[in-house]
Amino acid sequence: MNKILLSLLTLLLLSCVLSAQANSISTSVPAKSKDIHNADFYYNKGVDYYAAGNQGLANLYYLKALNLDTAHKFARSNLELSQHLSTDSKLYPQRRFLVRVLMQVLDFFSVNRLAIIALLLLFCSVAALAWLLFYDPDEERALPLLVFVLLFAMCLGSFTLLGFKSYHQTHNKLAVLITATEQLMPAQGISKKSIMEVHEGLIITMITSKDGLSTVRLPNGQLGKLPTKSLAKVR
């Protein structure tokens, strides 16, 4: 039985290494190619657009970079600065200290980082389970039980967060206003009086799209409608 287990583990490790190697070979593309699904590539495009004075597309590409890698500190920093310097900077909420800390911690755990951490926690949980179950039955089990419960809770939490982040990554509803200015129309009713004027680079959440108009939520929570063609979706 031990030999079978050992063989299985060796096979797993080998497949893991080969898979990772094959992945790195097959997915490397030269830096000049177009439309590369890579956070650094999107970030560099964002920097280019910002330098060219196109704040809308710059913000869009920073968001694309962050969608792939929430821990991309350069994209985060440039996006925050761009928001800070934008005409609509006052629409972005000022978060409280602890909320900001929490957001930064969550951002640190990008999908791939979280996947690896969750996997490691799973291995540790299995090890802790073995420790707990084969612990000397005549001795106090508090320590192995505590270790197992903690690791298992962290493992469950990691996989839950991983599921949430993966879903958010593939169903990202953020969009950026790419035209110079637009009038935000009321989300409800037939009134044609605009609520306010919004400017290029504003980051919004798209809720629905119909008849060339999108219902959007501004960073401050305000709901309204904007022309769909003036919005560029992150995904």
């Binding site: 287990l5 299985l8 583990l9 797993l12 497949s15 893991c16 898979s19 990772a20 992945n23 790195s24 997915t27 490397s28 593309v29 030269p30 830096a31 000049k32 190619s33 177009k34 590369i36 699904h37 890579n38 956070a39 650094d40 590539f41 970030y43 560099n44 920097v47 280019d48 910002y50 004075g53 792939l68 890698d69 350069f74 920093s77 440039n78 925050e80 600065l81 800070h84 310097l85 200290f97 900001r100 800390v101 930064q104 999908v111 791939n112 996947a115 690896i116 996997l119 799973l122 291995f123 949980s125 299995v126 389970l129 073995a130 179950l133 084969f134 039955p137 991983l162 993966s166 990554q169």
Partner: protein, 592 residues
């Protein structure tokens, strides 16, 4: 197979090379319709084509010709593939009903001759329902590939009496050194100019330039030149930034105008005019801190806040609006030594051709002590071209109230080191790997399920261990049943194969079972084991079966191999009876 793969790999590249295609819009054409003959030439490198003459097609009269070009680039198998193409469209009007042929004709591409294929055409009598696409007179062609849309009121004369010229018109004749002068190039004509191809732009010394405006179509307007009425269309508008003084000649543009009268005629034109007098900047009254800005600017500023805690930051923006030499001066700097740490400014431009629009400088200031602090001096000096004077914009005296730091303000700085200090530059990457989430990869889930499998195995083993520790009797019975089943399986297989191994395997299975379940050591004789079983008060019939089976095993041991197989099925049946008997006994007495 390899060849096929190679062909597949190089297929996109094989497709490239000079391609000359000729096609028509219709093979059967009514007399009141028009025939469009399209010649498309494409290649992977830039095309050098001698414009092919329209082929003579019997039964048709040539109407007009248009051309267009395009280029594209795509990535195939990791390498970029370019395609350049040029398209010529010849429009013909049918004259008579009958059958004819578009003849094969020569096209010279990159110095080589290519011949097109002939195309057969039938001209049929037009009906009233056929769309009247060509209801146009020869003097007002409707098909316009440049989309220039000649005005209906065009009153230009014929080719013989016409006048077409390209004029460079500076917005102003006199500028100061450094101030951008905009020169507009207009095509003046009293003829029917269908298109204009810009071929060359000849530069002279003494200026820098950028394209201020370049329309994509000819938009005509009424104009007068030397007392004569013309139609004129803007060709290009250049921004010229003089860096010397004296008389300056703007770039000379050269191009070909395609005129239409009876047929087409190309006319080569070169721009005339475009002289600008550049005056030097005055040295008298030049303020200190002048750094070369020349322009007509409106300057404004804003301060993000005037009350803050030590550790927090202020953002000050300085905005320049107007026309000037934005690329020739640097950002104004704050005076030093005033109680604030000042960052390098972030520059945000919204400029047209680098000369007109707005520029904003964003400065971040961090107070270095608490109290009421005056903002350091910031001034922007420029030479105003309109008033011919130096002007200075100074940030007004502003007092900032800096309070003592608190814990939150300290953490604000800690958490927001990049707001709003500066933009991070581009990352240097030679290769970008395509992002794939680990969760969408096979190996990831293989590891997850392996871990879960190991966990399941651990739980099963732990349960057995617990059983062994807490209920050793029960565990022994379970184990013995397992052993019996294991050997019974082997013995059954041996019996089915009529193998002589049946008896040793069966005997071993039974002995191991008795050893595990009833603790009957293997060194005991058969009689001793039977006696021990009788002491355990096991069903006498079952004991009798065991005894009989063990005797059969002993007999078989000394039989010739061929005779052993005779009663094999019968003995297998007996063995099964014994096992079923023990299982029944276990269930009745121990519930296992």
């Amino acid at each position: 197979m390899k060849k096929a793969l190679l062909c597949l790999f190089f297929f996109p590249l094989m497709l490239m090379g000079v391609k000359v295609d000729v096609s028509v819009n219709k093979y059967s054409i009514p007399t009141n319709d028009q025939l469009t003959l399209t010649l498309k030439i494409s290649d992977s490198s830039r095309l050098n084509i001698s414009e092919p003459a329209a082929p003579v097609v019997n039964l048709f009269s040539f109407r007009n010709m248009t051309s267009s070009s395009a280029s594209s680039m795509s990535v195939v198998n990791g390498s970029s593939v370019s395609e350049f193409s040029r398209q010529y469209s010849y429009v013909y009007l049918p004259q008579k009903v009958g059958k004819t042929q578009v003849p094969s004709f020569m096209v010279k591409v990159n110095g080589k001759d290519y011949r097109t294929k002939p195309i057969n055409i039938t001209v049929v009598q037009g009906t009233a329902s056929t769309p009247q696409k060509n209801s146009l007179s020869p003097s007002t062609p409707s098909f316009d590939p440049y989309g220039m849309g000649l005005p209906d009121y065009w009153e230009g004369g014929g080719l013989d009496s016409g006048n077409t010229m390209l004029l460079a018109e500076p917005e102003t004749q006199n500028v100061y050194q450094g101030f951008p002068a905009v020169v507009s190039y207009y095509l003046y004509s009293d003829e029917m100019v269908r298109s204009f191809n810009l071929e060359e732009e000849n530069d002279f010394e003494g200026y820098g330039k950028s394209t201020f405006e370049q329309p994509t179509m000819l938009n005509y307007e009424e104009a007068r030149y030397n007392g004569k009425a013309y139609k004129r269309a803007l060709i290009k508008r250049l921004a010229i930034i003089p860096n010397t003084t004296g008389r300056l000649q703007a770039p000379v543009l050269k191009g070909i105008a395609r005129l239409y009268s009876v047929g087409y005629l190309n006319k080569t034109l070169a721009s005339t005019g475009g002289q600008i007098v550049v005056r030097p900047l005055p040295h008298e009254n030049m303020p200190g801190g002048y750094n070369g800005a020349v322009g007509n600017f409106k300057v404004s500023h804003s301060i993000s806040k005037k009350d803050l805690a030590l550790g927090e930051t202020i953002t000050i923006s300085l905005k320049l609006l107007g026309r000037g030499n934005f690329n020739r001066f640097s950002a104004p700097v704050f005076a030093s030594g005033s109680g604030f740490q000042v960052s390098n400014p972030i520059v945000m431009d919204n400029l047209k051709a680098g000369i007109e629009g707005s520029r904003s400088y964003y400065y971040t200031l961090i107070p270095q002590s608490k109290g009421k602090l005056s903002l350091p001096e910031l001034k922007f000096v420029w030479f105003d071209n309109a008033s011919a004077t130096y002007k200075t914009y100074t940030l007004p005296q502003t007092v900032i109230d800096v309070k003592a730091a608190n814990v939150l303000s300290y953490f604000n700085r800690f958490l927001e080191p990049a707001t709003p200090n500066s933009m991070n530059p581009k990352l240097s990457r030679s290769v970008y790997s395509v992002y794939t989430p680990y969760t969408s990869q096979f190996w990831y889930w293989l590891l997850v399920f392996a871990a879960l499998g190991v966990a399941t195995y651990i739980i099963i083993r732990a349960r057995d261990a617990k059983l062994q520790h807490e209920f050793p009797e029960l565990y022994a019975r379970k184990q013995s049943a397992k052993i019996l089943h294991k050997y019974l399986r082997q013995a059954t297989e041996a019996a089915q194969k009529l193998s002589p191994d049946f008896y040793p395997l069966s005997e071993k299975a039974l002995f191991d079972f008795l050893a595990t379940r009833y603790k009957l050591a293997n060194h005991l004789s058969v009689e001793e084991k039977i006696a021990a079983l009788q002491e355990q008060r096991i069903d006498p019939e079952l004991i009798e079966h065991v005894q009989r089976f063990l005797q059969r095993c002993q007999q078989a041991r000394y039989m010739p191999e061929a005779d052993r197989a005779i009663n094999l099925q019968e003995d297998l049946h007996l063995l099964k009876q014994i096992i079923q008997g023990f299982e029944r006994y276990n269930r009745t007495h121990f519930g296992v």
